[in-house]
């Protein structure tokens, strides 16, 4: 006969005000198998836990039902408490009297009855619980960072400096990300490349960091501490070991008119190229879509001029599988394109550009070498209009959220423009100025007060071209919605920050949750901001939500500290909520008949085939076996099994039927 203790918590007034806890405790005393039942004001408090532990010893209890809040809240607390009193932690269950009863129902007898029912369900379950013991699994102390922007570089450096190996995977030919494209950064106006490129070089030269540029994550198997990641190394079409980065091939490539991604289409590049002069690694790639050789079968100029014979036209993509203990996602963001704005001409006016294009125009390493020239005719723009919230906070564009960085970079852009064109006029249309952050508001004030940038609160309804000017029509809502018309030479749209291309696909590959907008979801918005719901996978930077550089770096260091925490253990402890295949004595050996339907149902490839051998080595039967390291305990195989040969520890058929029997 079980000796179960029931501990009903008032949670102050939270449960006590709606549920008659004393009555519930009294009712539970009469449930068969219950040896002890009490109520208490705060069960989770120290005296509450101590009372429970004393009761376990005094009444020799072998199972405990704590009727309090959600098990998602305090199950670990109470399991630890009973464990300290010498009872197996998996012999403790929680009845959810608060979230599922007292907080959602009126004070009446039915509610108290429901509370007692919820406890009874778990009393019956506990009678069928068996002690379970945590599973220990080894940890591979190598981390993978996906994305080589400022966040990814920071994560990699922090983990590497902590003494562990890091593999930094970047899909483009160079690390650096969006930050390497920026001209100057707010609120200090220091040169972005000057602060980033030393970090890039440090990452490349760090003995613990392996760079895998021009590579993408293809497949992820396994679980926390024991991932197997398959990375596709895209063919650069050259031997990286032989290439010295001399750049002769780039100089001689005849195909020079290709739109340059790094310069956001404002400049051109060759078919064999490095994205930008400070690229890390400084190794070119051949753009096979635009290369003359791949289009016509003739050319091979690069091969002829290469002093080290490094060009390999026949090179194929390579798949590499690596053992990884933890993964950090730092895949960044993309900007909404100007094509998305019919009211601003669908991106067909060359002088309506987005924020990143302005960065390239203002950058000393950009296509104009930092001289303000508008893209259409190369003239110096005399009047520039900046439009904040282009797409952001706009439901019709599918972006109801704030992109967070635009207020600051728009102020920066206006300032940079005024510093370069002293006689120029800069106008900013804005909805609100959101400049929360250290020295941020002061920065915006400086743009307005010292650099004479005209801020107009209102939206721009239409932009059209007339006599070589862009006519910007808007309203000034602080002047009672008075119409405003500005004849501009250039318009800069602070377009919305969006989740990166294929981020949802990547999330599905990694079994990570993501939100409606494709940003990766953190495990808890306040308390677990850098973890995902999948153990061993962490987040850094703008792949989680729009972020500026300091926040991305802070989050990156936070993610790195989580990884280092994980790597500080030699073995991980996992919940023993896993499936097991029934085994018994011969001649049946197991209920399993070897149909392996479970194998097709398992999302984790955790089910293997096991042969039962006779003494002479003859195969008697082939049955399923579950790898407890891979099993995550979903139970899909249990419901699939035709012969009920598989059961799920912690949620066994016996336990669930026992629960139903109380109804």
């Amino acid at each position: 006969m079980s000796r179960i203790g029931v501990f009903t918590c008032h949670c102050g007034e939270n449960i006590g005000a709606t549920v008659d806890c004393a009555k519930v405790a009294e009712m539970c005393k009469h449930v068969p198998g219950v040896a002890h039942s009490v109520d208490y004001k705060y069960m989770c408090s120290d005296p509450g836990q101590r009372m429970m532990q004393e009761a376990i010893k005094e009444h020799n209890l072998d199972g405990v039902v704590v009727a309090a809040c959600s098990p998602r809240m305090h199950e670990p607390t109470f399991r630890r408490a009973v464990s300290n009193a010498g009872v197996n932690p998996y012999m403790c269950e929680m009845a959810n009297l608060r979230e599922h009863c007292s907080w959602v129902h009126e004070k009446n007898d039915a509610t108290t009855q429901k509370a007692a029912d919820l406890i009874r369900v778990l009393v019956e379950k506990i009678k069928h619980n068996t002690p379970l013991y945590p599973i220990k699994v080894p940890v591979t102390k190598t981390a993978m960072v996906v994305g080589g922007g400022v966040a990814g570089i920071q994560v990699a450096l922090d983990i590497a400096n902590g003494g562990h190996k890091v593999i930094l995977v970047e899909k483009s030919p160079s690390i650096g990300g969006h930050m390497s494209q920026l001209s100057e950064t707010f609120p200090t106006l220091d040169c972005s490349q000057c602060i980033l490129t030393p970090r890039m070089v440090e990452a490349a030269q760090h003995p613990n960091i392996t760079l895998m540029t021009y590579s993408e994550v293809e497949k992820v198997d396994g679980f926390i501490g024991n991932f197997k990641v398959t990375v596709r190394k895209k063919a650069r079409k050259l031997d990286e070991k032989l290439c010295t980065g001399c750049g002769l091939c780039i100089q001689k490539c005849p195909n020079k008119k290709i739109s340059d991604e790094f310069n956001e289409g404002l400049g051109t590049r060759t078919a064999i190229y490095v994205p930008f002069p400070q690229a890390v690694p400084n190794r070119p790639v051949i753009d096979t879509l635009n290369c003359t050789f791949y289009k016509t079968g003739k050319c091979k100029v690069c091969e002829k001029v290469c002093p080290t014979n490094a060009i390999r036209f026949e090179q194929e993509d390579e798949l590499v599988t690596i053992d990884i203990g933890a993964i950090v996602l730092a895949t960044g963001f993309k900007l909404m394109k100007t094509e998305a704005f019919p009211e601003y001409g669908y991106g067909k006016h060359k002088d309506i550009i987005d924020g990143m294009q302005f960065e390239r125009l203002a950058s000393a390493s950009g296509p104009t070498a930092g001289v303000m020239k508008r893209p259409s005719d190369g003239k110096e723009p005399e009047t520039v209009v900046f439009i904040a919230c282009s797409g952001s906070r706009d439901r019709s564009k599918g972006v109801p959220y704030c992109s967070k960085v635009c207020c600051m970079y728009t102020a920066k852009h206006a300032m940079l423009y005024k510093h370069k064109v002293h006689s120029g006029k800069a106008y900013v249309f804005y909805m609100d100025i959101r400049a929360a952050g250290k020295d941020y508001d002061e920065f915006v004030r400086r743009a307005i007060e010292e650099d004479d940038v005209k801020y107009i609160r209102g939206r721009v309804s239409k932009i059209y071209e007339e006599d070589g000017k862009l006519i910007v029509k808007g309203a000034d809502t602080l002047m009672g919605g008075e119409p405003v018309e500005i004849k501009a030479d250039m318009v800069v749209l602070a377009t919305a920050v969006q989740s990166n291309d294929r981020s949802e696909e990547l999330a599905q590959t990694l079994h990570v949750s993501y939100d409606t907008y494709g940003f990766f979801a953190e495990a808890h918005p306040k308390l677990r901001p850098v973890e995902t719901n999948t153990g061993g996978i962490f987040l850094a930077g703008a792949c989680q939500a729009p972020r500026d550089i300091p926040e991305s770096v802070a989050q990156a260091s936070a993610a790195a500290s989580k990884v280092l925490g994980l790597f500080s253990q030699d073995q991980l402890t996992r919940e023993p909520i896993v499936a097991v295949v029934n085994r018994q004595a011969g001649p049946t050996y197991s209920y399993c008949v070897g149909c392996f339907l479970c194998q097709t149902a398992c999302p984790y490839q955790a089910i293997e085939q096991e042969q039962i051998l006779a003494r002479n080595g003859e195969v008697i039967k082939t049955i399923a076996r579950i790898n407890p390291g891979l099993c995550q305990g979903c139970g899909t195989c249990v419901a699939t099994c035709r012969t009920k040969a598989i059961d799920l520890q912690g949620f066994s058929n016996e336990q669930l039927y026992a629960e139903i029997m109380t109804l």
């Binding site: 998602r72 139903i660 109804l663």
Partner: protein, 145 residues
């Protein structure tokens, strides 16, 4: 039916989405009818036909099955298995003569506290109108367990 009929509703919910969603209903203090008894399973993929039938046999007038939205399953694909099985279960229930209106299959995410309250209220009202599920309980009385 007498006016005092209070249906018994049994809900099989997954730990990660609907159970958390029901927690959020509590945290948001959204009131709903108290007829439902929640049984927690790790995933809707864990639920097999016999669990639903047993629930009816033991006196449930209505059953709710709810898990993560498609694509959001904590275990990647458990809810897809549940959805496919539900198509088969429905046919099987029809064949057995079990009223399919008594089972409600739904998705409630961890962020949809209000949706959970709405679902429970809808099902409770619906089952209250349908009346007690006497036909199936009669089997239990006849000793077929």
């Amino acid at each position: 039916m007498t006016e005092s009929f209070e249906p018994k509703i049994t809900a099989f919910v997954c730990n990660w989405c609907t159970y958390a969603g029901a927690d959020l209903t509590g945290t948001s203090r959204i009131n709903y009818q108290s007829n439902v008894r929640v049984l927690r399973v790790p995933c809707t993929g864990r639920i097999d036909f016999m669990l639903l039938m047993k629930a009816f046999q033991k006196g449930s007038d209505g059953v709710i099955v709810s898990g993560c939205h498609p694509n959001d399953c904590h275990y990647t694909s458990g809810n897809y298995h549940a959805r496919r099985r539900w198509m088969v279960y429905k046919d099987l229930m029809d064949f057995m003569g079990v009223d399919t209106n008594r089972v409600t299959f739904s998705w409630v995410s961890a962020a949809e506290g209000a949706r959970w309250a709405q679902l429970v209220n809808e099902v409770t009202d619906n089952i209250r109108n349908l009346g007690p599920y006497a036909e199936y309980k009669a089997l239990a009385v006849a000793g077929i367990e």
